[in-house]
Amino acid sequence: MRLTEEQQHTLRAAVDRIIPPDDYPGAWQCGVGDYLARQFESDLRPMLDDYCAGLSALEAESVARFQQTFVLLSEEEQDTMLRHIEAGEVLTAWNVTPRLFFNLLVNTTAEGFYSNPEQGGNRKGVSWAMTGFEEPLQ
């Protein structure tokens, strides 16, 4: 099973709210999508159904709450959505526990963004330079 195109778009928007771009790139630009694609084929394979169900539910929740697809919400609206899910406050029926999905989303995004560049989610060692762990990679 793989992510549908819609789930992929939702994922992209969501990880960029977990680690948004500012003066350093956000999660997606750093490759967290690539990191997750690899993980969905390996370590996260057992969680993939939950992950996909959560992304679809996030989208349905967005339509229910804002009558709009998640990717087209403003950043503030997206954050509001995510805060509700984090708190377990949902309007629609979820096939996965909202908090479980939210923790999975947050943890796996951070794992990609802050771990080794060669794992795909920390392109050019951006987060290591940002934190001061390492000198920036050339």
Binding site: R17, I18, I19, P20, D22, Y24, D43, D79, L82, V106, T109, A110, E111, Y114, S115, N116, Q119, S127, W128, M130, T131, G132, F133, E134
Partner: protein, 553 residues
């Protein structure tokens, strides 16, 4: 095929490697079994998500995630099967060198009072707290031997008031970092005595190997210049160089074999060869079990016969009890200035002020700063509890404060509980069909009281050091084991309350020894590895003297 040897040693960790080195250099024929492989620096790698310190998706030093389950029983009595990278597995590395291949290498001696805990504090209800059958004075020469044979960097005079010694460390202590300066200032303000942290790390070339290059990957990883001293690069190479020691990797000991009179005659083991398990039998005059506190107990329990229906050494149901590790209170504080300079190992300064003598507390522990923490480890471990876990606020804290957070942590002396225990689960077997270890119980509530006291000391230290904000992690009443696992075959004079005598020889067996952290009656308020090493030198010398008439130094 049956082979014959003077000694068989099961396990190549901190203890097994040392016993192998001592006996092989004494000219004895040694068979050394290791369940894992020998791992090169690049095989251990630098994966921030799969290492001995943060093992979200796996380990870098074994065991393999599949085929090596354990059973963990939670406080409510629910049993579940766990895999090696899950916290409740209480893993230690499975490779040549055992945990020493990837440890942080803090090289603490226990204090004199750590060997006399029951006499010092009395025994609280529900605890199996006891004195050791030996004193600090008995172990002191062997601490010195471990420090000089393997190589320890430290400052003996700075510690002499709390931990007496006859000879200083062979290597100078690691240099200070910016955080050292801040913490030293804080300690002075509080009137606390500090010292550099002793480490099994070459601060200068030693033992034919290079010195530390101050990288960021000590704890959880392998050393790029081989300057971190474990059994894999000191005593095991010495053992192999004699030509007297045969090291077999991927070798799983399934039983200690006994004859019809109950005498130990050898070990049966399985070797993974081209994906298949080949059965082997080895005979020896002496068998030494050094597989770590969980696996050593498991092997003795799995070696049951009609004469020893409860397992070897287990007439009084003591094998596997008193499992101890350490609760680890942690405190963090935010400094105005950067305190991180990227120079490893990172751990530099400790206080032993609170290991004993704390009103109303049994024991206590050492507090020190921390090894360099990879950013994802920091993200999981070290952020303030009131910081949002996502969004710009989280990212900016990581950006602004990764280099400004001071870390203080330390192992708290475990008050042992007989119910904190390793048994065998007959319903769950590993890939070789051997029943697995079942872990149950928790430490004694008095340990949590001591840990809470130490957490408060940690916070006080950070405040005095100039932290604007301080936060910390409150330890709970849990099973403590993990990489500091100990206690499951404790030494003692009374066979009813212990498993071995004061040399590690299993009661009622003439030629069966346990030599590893399992022997620890109590586990000190310190990282236990140097004590494991010292006891290994001591037991090895005893075995060489008593069984082979060798007076080895």
């Amino acid at each position: 095929m049956i082979t014959s040897h003077d000694a068989i040693i099961v396990g190549t960790g901190a203890a097994g490697g040392i016993v192998a080195g001592v006996l092989a250099e004494a000219g004895k024929d040694v068979l050394l079994l290791e369940r894992g492989p020998a791992l090169s620096f690049s095989q251990v790698g630098r994966d921030h998500l799969r290492n001995q310190r943060l093992s979200i998706y796996g380990h870098n030093a074994g065991p393999e995630l599949e085929g090596n389950p354990r059973v963990f029983v939670d406080p409510a009595g629910n049993a579940r099967t766990v895999r090696p990278h899950e916290p409740d597995y209480h893993n230690n590395a499975a490779c040549v060198g055992g945990g020493t291949r990837v440890y942080g290498a803090q090289a603490w001696r226990f204090m004199p009072a750590d060997f006399r805990m029951a006499s010092t504090y009395g025994v609280p209800a529900g605890s199996s707290l006891a004195d050791w059958p030996i004193t600090y004075g008995d172990v002191e020469p062997f601490y010195e031997r471990a420090e000089w044979q393997l190589g320890v960097a430290g400052d003996g005079p700075a510690l002499k008031d709390s931990i007496p010694r006859r000879r200083d460390y062979p290597l100078p202590a690691v240099p200070p970092n910016p955080q050292t300066v801040a913490l030293k200032r804080g300690a002075q303000q509080l009137g606390w005595i500090t010292s550099p942290v002793p480490l099994l790390i070459n601060t200068l070339p030693y033992g034919g190997r290079e010195s530390c290059i101050a990288c960021k990957y000590c704890v959880g990883f392998a050393c790029p210049t081989d300057a971190k001293n474990g059994s894999h690069n000191t005593m095991i190479p010495r053992a192999l160089a004699t030509g007297n020691c045969k090291l077999v990797t991927a070798a799983i000991a399934d039983r200690v074999e006994t004859d019809e009179h109950g005498n130990v005659k050898g070990v049966s083991y399985l070797v993974q060869e081209r994906g298949k398990a080949q059965a082997h039998t080895a005979r020896a005059k002496v068998v030494i079990v050094s597989a770590g506190a969980v696996e050593s107990a498991r092997l003795l329990l799995n070696s049951h016969t009609t004469l020893h229906p409860n397992g070897l050494g287990n007439e009084h149901h003591q094998v596997g009890r008193n499992l101890q590790g350490h609760l680890y209170p942690r405190a963090y504080g935010l400094m105005r200035e950067k305190v991180f300079n990227g120079i490893g190992p990172g751990v530099t300064l400790a206080t032993t002020q609170f290991n004993h003598g704390n009103l109303g507390i049994i024991g206590g522990g050492m507090l020190a700063d921390d090894f360099i923490k990879p950013p994802i480890d920091f993200w999981y471990d070290s952020l303030p509890p009131d910081l949002p876990r996502w969004g710009l606020a989280n990212k900016r804290f990581m950006r602004d404060n990764y280099t400004r957070v001071l870390h203080v942590r330390g192992p708290v002396q475990d008050v042992p509980s007989p119910d904190s225990r390793v048994t065998i689960d007959l319903g769950v077997r590993d890939r070789w069909g051997i029943p697995v270890a079942r872990l149950s119980g928790s430490t004694h509530p008095a340990t949590v009281v001591a840990a809470e006291f130490m957490r408060e000391r940690g916070e006080a230290w950070l405040r005095a050091s100039g932290c604007e904000r301080v936060w910390s992690c409150r330890p709970g009443l849990v099973l403590s084991g993990g990489q500091h696992q100990a206690g499951t075959c404790r030494m003692g004079d009374d066979p009813k309350t212990s498993v071995t005598n004061k040399w590690g020889r299993v009661h009622k067996h003439d030629n069966l020894f346990v030599v590893d952290g399992s022997l620890h009656v109590t586990n000190g308020g310190f990282n236990p590895v140097l004590t494991i090493m010292a006891l290994a030198f001591r037991s090895a010398a005893y075995i060489a003297r008593s069984y082979f008439q060798c007076d080895c130094q």
